[in-house]
């Protein structure tokens, strides 16, 4: 075992190497734009240089003269598309701003023309030669711009159902022995997955194949079909590998139906590879947020009052919001809680999911405030969390299915050396560098969605698992293979996994960290059916069938020891008895509490996630604790983060290797979010200025010399058959606050606005 492949503890699977490791490191893994097409035409986007206004006219003569140009598509000649509703409103789209529909421009970088040519180079050159005349209207860029509107999220966003509250906050806060009121801000951020927002569309008669990085092939298939006005069965989305998603590919963007429409008109495959900067405006992003936290506590640290008000930015037409108060109002024991989420509409593209969408901004505010409260109380911030730890959430009193928050704090504190810190701010240093330690809680809701799977087992043990899941770099292939291998008792190397294809049995969106729980629960259920077929063939008497049912564990039975106790099944004999060489089963699984239309919705590409705080009589979250060391240079005020230590508990860990990798990536992203990442908006023009990797900073190796991930054993039999809590979005939540808390310890200065830049430090 190595650091990369940690020794499994109780309720953890083996750290099997990645199923797709060799394909990826040898370049054989084919991503969307790698897919071979027969005589493709190449598309290049022209995007708007204004954020609000109208296109008066295009000057296309110069562009059309470029050799190889086939067509230039604008709103004047674009294929007609049907409108798609926002995903939260029963549709598939991440934005209802549909480009090429009219001369109107609604945001910076909106698609206003598509150049199609015989080569990528010709398309790009011609796009550079397109001239556009605009009538510009002064746009509203963000919170402080004139012309925005603000209203409560509740009532306009159907997925934001309540502003959680309980007790009498005002009175309790008023009477509290210790009070804290503080405001926090988080910036605009963009996902910037390595794979660009490409799409390739190829028609075979009336059938359309789309090669595109997507986190939801069923959603994309159905959404594009709806926009094109064709039957969803005519559309297939293929993406065996996705070069990162982070939420940016969860809902449909306008580009796909546009390119599909152009390909249909040309009767030729069309391939689009947009640029990095276009990715900032043709897809979604994390919008900036503002928060006010009020905490009231007793002298002993017990919270008596908590209020969290959040304000978020969205586009003019779409009421997107993340509404993280559902988490922050339930994290700690407190009898008087109040909250409010509002949305400010500006002339921007519609924001969308980005890794831990609600938790990242909202926990930054709460976990910073908890640290501030600990300072006011002269308490160890770890002990403040302990005093307010709870086994049930305070709003409705529902029990957490499991909660290892304090064990995570204790393990991480020990590994970090928290006890060695000098408590007083600005009291630790090393040469030019002031040293600070900080910590914060992290958490993420445990979510599941209905999923199907098809599994074929051959006499020789070779197994084929088919499920339209997504490999976005998380390790989906690997853990699906491990699950089938364990459940069927066949060697891992005999299992083949097919995912990333909408012709396969449906799986949920790879979002909300639900994939492992959902797909593995479905795979387990279908494996059990395969076993049952064999048991029945081999031992066709009543009691043995019952035994098979009981021991292999079907339906909702949690994983526990069920599968393991069934080794005696002799495949050769069972297949002889069956009189066949292959057993194949298809099944559909849905989580407890899933809505009645779950299976129907699953096939039509609509998400039906359950879990987190929305469960009927319980609440399910994964927890962790994060500790960071920051160093602040007393001369340059540069801020560096040499150590990140996180301990996490997330139910069954399917594979400690891939889990560690996810959590490590999350910690690094969290540090990046605290210190580096921000999309700069030009206030005058509502345009993104640093829309490239040179100016939108993410960490390099030298920024993260020490990252330690500790996996805690945890068993939870109340969530899903796999017993797994999603952890992909767990680690980047607490880091923002942990970094700022450490900066406070290093400098005595409290920073409440991200990212923290050296000019914000006043040593």
């Amino acid at each position: 075992m190595t650091a990369a492949a940690p020794e499994p503890k109780a309720n953890m699977g083996q750290p099997a190497p990645r199923y797709d490791a060799v394909a990826k490191v040898t370049g054989r893994a084919t991503y969307g734009s790698d897919m071979p097409l027969d005589n493709p035409a190449y598309a290049f986007l022209v995007t708007s240089a204004i954020s609000k206004g109208r296109i008066n006219s295009f000057g296309l003569d110069d562009a059309k003269r470029v050799r190889g140009v086939i067509d230039i598509v604008t709103h004047e000649n674009a294929p007609k598309l049907k409108e798609s509703k926002l995903f939260s409103n029963g549709g598939y789209a991440g934005t209802t701003i549909q480009p090429l529909k009219s001369a109107d421009v609604a945001h910076d970088g909106q698609i206003i023309a598509v150049v199609v040519a015989e080569s990528y180079e010709a398309a790009r050159e011609a796009a550079n030669r397109v001239k556009v005349s605009y009538t510009t209207v002064t746009p509203s860029a963000s919170f402080d711009s004139p012309g925005t509107t603000k209203a409560a999220a509740k009532g306009q966003n159907s997925q934001f159902k309540e502003d959680p509250k309980v007790g009498d906050f005002a009175k309790a806060f008023d009477e509290a022995e210790v009070k804290l009121t503080a405001s926090y801000e988080t910036p605009t951020q963009h996902h910037n997955p390595m794979e660009l927002f490409s799409t390739s569309c190829a028609w075979m008669g009336d059938d359309l194949v789309i090669y595109e990085p997507s986190q939801y092939v069923y959603g994309l298939k159905n959404g594009v079909a709806e926009q094109l006005g064709i039957d969803a069965d005519k559309v297939r989305v293929v993406n065996p590998y996705v070069g990162g998603g982070f939420g940016s590919r969860g809902s449909m963007t306008p580009r796909t139906a546009i390119i599909a429409g152009i390909a249909r008109r040309l009767n030729r495959p069309v391939k689009l590879v947009p640029t990095r900067d276009q990715g900032f405006t043709i897809a979604t992003y994390r919008a900036e947020t503002r928060h006010e936290i009020k905490l009231g506590a007793r002298r002993d640290g017990k919270l008596v009052a908590l209020r969290h008000e959040g304000v978020e930015v969205s586009s003019r037409p779409d009421p997107y919001c993340v509404g993280g108060t559902k988490t922050t109002t339930r994290l700690y024991a407190c009898r008087n809680v109040d909250s409010l989420v509002s949305i400010v509409r500006a002339d921007r593209n519609t924001p969308g999911f980005m890794r831990s969408p609600p938790e990242v901004p909202y926990l930054f505010a709460l976990e910073s405030a908890m640290d501030e409260l600990a300072v006011k109380l002269s308490m160890d911030p770890v002990e403040l969390r302990r005093v307010n730890d709870t086994t049930s959430e305070p709003i409705a009193g529902k029990p957490y299915t499991s909660r290892s928050l304090m064990p995570c704090f204790d393990e991480a504190a020990k590994a970090f050396g928290w006890a060695q810190r000098s408590v007083t701010p600005k009291s630790m240093s090393d040469g030019d560098w002031l040293i600070g330690y900080g910590c914060a809680a992290t958490c993420y809701p445990t979510q599941m969605g209905p999923s199907a799977a098809r599994i074929r087992l051959q006499r020789d043990g070779r197994t084929r698992v088919e499920i339209a899941g997504h490999e976005i770099g998380t390790g989906a292939y690997t853990i699906i293979a491990q699950t089938a291998s364990e459940r069927l008792g066949v060697p891992l190397e005999k299992v083949s996994v097919f995912i990333g294809d909408s012709d396969l049995p449906p799986a949920p969106v790879a979002g909300g960290s639900n994939s492992t729980a959902s797909t593995c629960s479905a795979v387990m259920m279908v494996c059990d059916r395969v076993r049952q077929r064999l048991f029945k063939a081999l031992m066709p008497n009543e009691s043995l069938t019952d035994k098979a049912k009981e021991t292999v564990g079907i339906g909702q039975t949690p994983t526990t020891q069920a599968a393991k106790s069934d080794r005696p099944l002799d495949l050769e004999k069972a297949f002889d008895a069956l009189g066949a060489g292959v057993v194949e089963e298809y099944g559909e699984w849905k989580p407890e509490g899933a809505p009645l239309d779950s299976f129907k919705a699953m096939h039509s590409g609509h998400v039906r996630l359950v879990g987190g705080a929305a469960m009927k009589d319980k609440i399910a979250y994964a927890f962790g604790a994060e500790f960071v060391e920051v160093r602040v240079n007393r001369f340059t005020h540069e801020i560096r983060c040499p150590r990140l230590v996180g301990a996490f508990a997330a139910g069954r860990i399917m594979n400690p290797r891939t889990a560690r990798s996810q959590l490590m990536g999350g910690l690094i992203w969290g540090m990046s979010s605290a210190l580096l990442e921000a999309t700069e908006i030009d206030e005058r023009t509502a345009r993104y200025v640093n829309d490239n990797f040179a100016d939108y900073l993410v960490p390099v190796n030298a920024d993260v010399p020490g990252v330690e991930v500790i996996l805690l054993s945890e068993q939870d039999d109340h969530i899903n058959p796999a017993g797994a809590k999603g952890l992909g979005e767990l680690a980047n939540v607490g880091t923002n606050a942990a970094v700022c808390n450490a900066i406070y310890h290093a400098t005595g200065q409290r920073i409440r606005k991200l990212p923290v830049r050296l000019e914000n430090i006043e040593v």
Partner: protein, 338 residues
């Protein structure tokens, strides 16, 4: 990117001929229809962005045999313009006698870029101003003379506070040039009438009313070498930036001192990340020369360096930061063990 003709220069004369023929009088060289290609790390980037649109590229890498030597001597250091940044940064004698040069190169860009990029190309690197690099912004006096400056009241955190004009506040982005200007380097330029030398300090032009004109090079002229007089073992390059590597300076200082018996006999200070051109802080040097070093003297020198600085909405912090960087670089240089 637009189509272009690719030519390999087999000898300096041909390169100069082709390049000078493509330049037009009274037109900035950066807009000439033929451009020299060395490491390509700036030019190709800007061509992809449609900022530079040469019709022809003259690949001068074949000239490397004559133009890439690293020649340390007792009186001077001569560096061929086509030497790779990584080779110079790792050279033993440069590390020993010119740490300011070695570090300015080592702290620039990434390992991959340093392996490709040449010294001559590096000093010619064009600004990273976002508005300059994005052709969808009409207002850029450097790219589109007379069109205005979008950065002046835009997002200008990375922009310059020294050497600016009301036409342009774009920062000169490089690091190595600060070492050269501090050490009174000369630059050897090969053109139609042979080779000439000039002080490196005369190579770059502050924006003034013509931000599109960035250097004093004449049509066809190529940088063939740099010459640094003397040895400067007591020298430092200090660079403050948002991340630990692969990032441009928010503020940097190239400092070289000659200290004898506690008295500063000669002092060189140049600033990066804060100015529109490689910036020699002679006012700071004047404060230091002939004095005994202490922290108050360092502060006086730093204050003098930034006396004329003008901040804008997002970059005013660079004035205070720049002073602290100068102070710290001076302190480090004074305490160096050589």
């Amino acid at each position: 990117m637009r189509p272009f003709v690719y030519q390999r220069a087999t000898d300096p004369d041909t390169a100069v001929q082709v390049l000078s023929a493509a330049a037009t009088a009274n037109h900035p060289l950066t807009r000439a229809t033929a451009q020299p290609l060395a490491g390509g790390t700036t030019l190709i980037d800007l061509m992809k962005l449609d900022v530079m649109r040469p019709a022809a590229i003259v690949d001068i890498n074949p000239l490397a045999q004559g133009w890439s030597a690293i020649e340390p001597g007792s009186e001077r250091l001569r560096l061929g313009a086509l030497a790779k940044m990584s080779d110079v940064a790792a050279h033993d004698e440069i590390l020993r006698n010119y740490p300011v040069i070695a570090n300015s190169l080592k702290l620039a860009a990434s390992a991959q870029l340093r392996n490709m990029a040449t010294l001559g190309g590096n000093v010619m690197q064009r600004t990273r101003c976002s508005y300059f690099r994005d052709v969808s912004y009409e207002n850029c006096n450097k790219r589109n003379p007379g069109s205005g400056c979008a950065a002046m009241d835009g997002v200008n955190r990375m922009h310059a506070v020294l050497g600016t004009s009301d036409q342009c506040i774009a920062t000169y982005p490089g690091d190595f040039a600060q070492a050269l200007i501090a050490l009174d380097a000369t630059v050897e330029v090969t053109g139609r009438s042979g080779t000439r030398s000039m002080p490196f300090a005369e190579l770059h032009k502050a924006p003034g009313n013509t931000p599109e004109i960035e250097t004093t090079l004449q049509p066809g002229e190529l940088i063939s070498a740099f010459v640094v007089p003397g040895r400067w073992p007591r020298s430092v390059y200090l660079k403050a930036r948002d991340r630990q590597s692969y990032e441009f300076a928010l503020s940097s200082a190239a400092v070289a001192l000659d200290v004898q018996d506690g008295t500063i006999r000669d002092a060189r200070v140049a600033l990066g990340g804060v100015a529109t051109v490689p910036w020699r802080a002679r006012e700071a040097e004047a404060q230091l020369k002939g004095q005994r070093f202490d922290d108050r003297l360092a502060q006086r020198a730093a204050d003098a360096a930034f006396a004329e600085a003008k901040g804008r909405q997002h970059n005013s912090f660079k004035i205070a930061l720049g002073k602290r960087v100068v102070v710290r670089a001076l302190q480090q240089a004074v305490t160096m063990e050589i």
